[in-house]
Amino acid sequence: MSQWKVYFYLEGMRRDNCIRAWLDSERVSVAQIAAFQDKIDTLELSGPEMVPGFITEKPVARDIYKMKIKGNKGMKQLRPMCCRGPFAPNEFTILVGAVEKDGKLIPENVTERAQENLKALKADPTRRVNERLRPKPKV
């Protein structure tokens, strides 16, 4: 079994998981979060080869790759941006969330933001976390 890791960039002063915050702000449905988590789990367990089409083969900007989580009709087309590594070959770090509408990424400057976050991460390797998309319910 391959050992891959998927991390989330921690943004801002509060170091929030950039994807958790983005999923909340976009009001992404439970079903889409589950589909996203499934693909992350499969990627971690079996490697990127076993989730064809989840991450683009070619970068959309320098070092930045687009993830695709298709939504059914009426749902959002989730396109978070990630990078390979950057500290080990068998890891990915999701840098920023985005959606695609009418063939355009929203926000428009998403690739630049991803590159900025990658630069910040390289400067501070603690700015990332490996955790579930959905926080565990408090008992």
Binding site: V30, A34, A35, Q37, P52, K70
Partner: protein, 298 residues
């Protein structure tokens, strides 16, 4: 229990979440297996698409984990193009955890029908039957020594299993008069073979004072041998697996079974349990048949 198991156990309490997760994994599995099967066959997307009667861009979406609208007839078309069958089943959510862990390329690979080991094996007896139906070739019967030498030389597994020089044994066999009695009673000759076979996994290979019994199957697998006749009929001595067999009746065996039959007669080598054989019921079928027959005539 792994972290993933624990997380999913907690997350799957939400019905909407677990169905969406399972659906996503199904789509992932389908797309990945289609890609894996194509790559296993070393084919391009265009080649498989052509067999399905569609174009490559249309086929490409089947290899994308985000493709979520599957039709059974489309899946059958993919299956036919890749030489496999389609299997659809309903499963528990619990089994998803195992499916997820076993989600590797090797687990998803399937041979095409022409390479399916089940049907490849089925072809073998057919060829053998034809050989048996043909008149027995007028060739001298192989000597036991030759057979053993062939077994040792042809069986890769046996050769790899131990690092041992077989030449003295083979030379000894070659120099012998090939008679069952000689071989069976030459314990000194077979002592190294015993040791050698004793190292192999599985007790079927361990010689227990009866060389023939242990080599019979190996002989039967040789392409040059049509079949092996059981030299010990279903008698008390026919308890082939028994260690208590003494080679006292070797001469009787030799005289009862002409040596030419070794290569020509096709009969399975059967090992009869002495105790079970005793408990066999009388031939009721024959008696019933005779009864009916009598009534008819009466």
């Amino acid at each position: 229990m792994s972290d993933l198991d624990q997380n999913l156990k907690s997350e799957f309490q939400d019905s909407q979440y677990r169905y969406a997760y399972a659906e996503s994994f199904l789509n992932t599995k389908l797309a990945t297996q289609i890609k894996t099967l194509r790559e296993q066959r070393k084919e391009t997307q265009a080649a498989v698409a052509a067999r399905m009667g569609i174009k490559q861009p249309g086929y490409r979406r089947f290899e994308d984990v985000n493709h979520s609208v599957w039709r059974t007839d489309t899946l059958w078309a993919v299956a036919k193009a890749l030489g496999v069958r389609l299997n659809i089943s309903f499963e528990t959510f619990g089994s998803l955890l195992d499916d997820k862990k076993r989600f590797t390329k090797e687990e998803l690979e399937r041979p095409e029908f022409k390479d399916d080991p089940v049907f490849k094996e089925a072809e073998k007896p057919q060829a053998e039957e034809i050989a048996v139906m043909a008149p027995a070739p007028m060739v001298p019967a192989p000597r036991l020594g030759d057979l053993m030498a062939a077994v040792v030389q042809n069986n890769e597994e046996l050769r790899k299993a131990v690092s041992m020089d077989f030449s003295p044994i083979l030379a000894a066999l070659e120099s012998q008069e090939a008679s069952w009695r000689t071989v069976l009673t030459e314990t000194e000759t077979f002592a190294p073979v015993n040791t050698w076979l004793g190292k192999l996994p599985g007790n079927e290979w361990i010689l227990q004072g009866n060389a023939w019994t242990q080599f019979a199957d190996a002989f039967a697998s040789l392409p040059s041998i049509a079949s092996i006749h059981n030299p010990y009929p279903e008698t008390k001595e026919g308890t082939m697996a028994a260690t208590s067999y003494t080679p006292a009746s070797n001469e009787a065996v030799e005289s009862a079974i002409p040596r030419r039959e070794i290569a020509a007669v096709r009969a399975p080598v059967t090992f009869i349990d002495q105790h079970k054989a005793k408990k066999r019921p009388p031939q009721k079928r024959y008696q019933v048949w005779r009864g009916i027959s009598r009534r008819k005539h009466g």
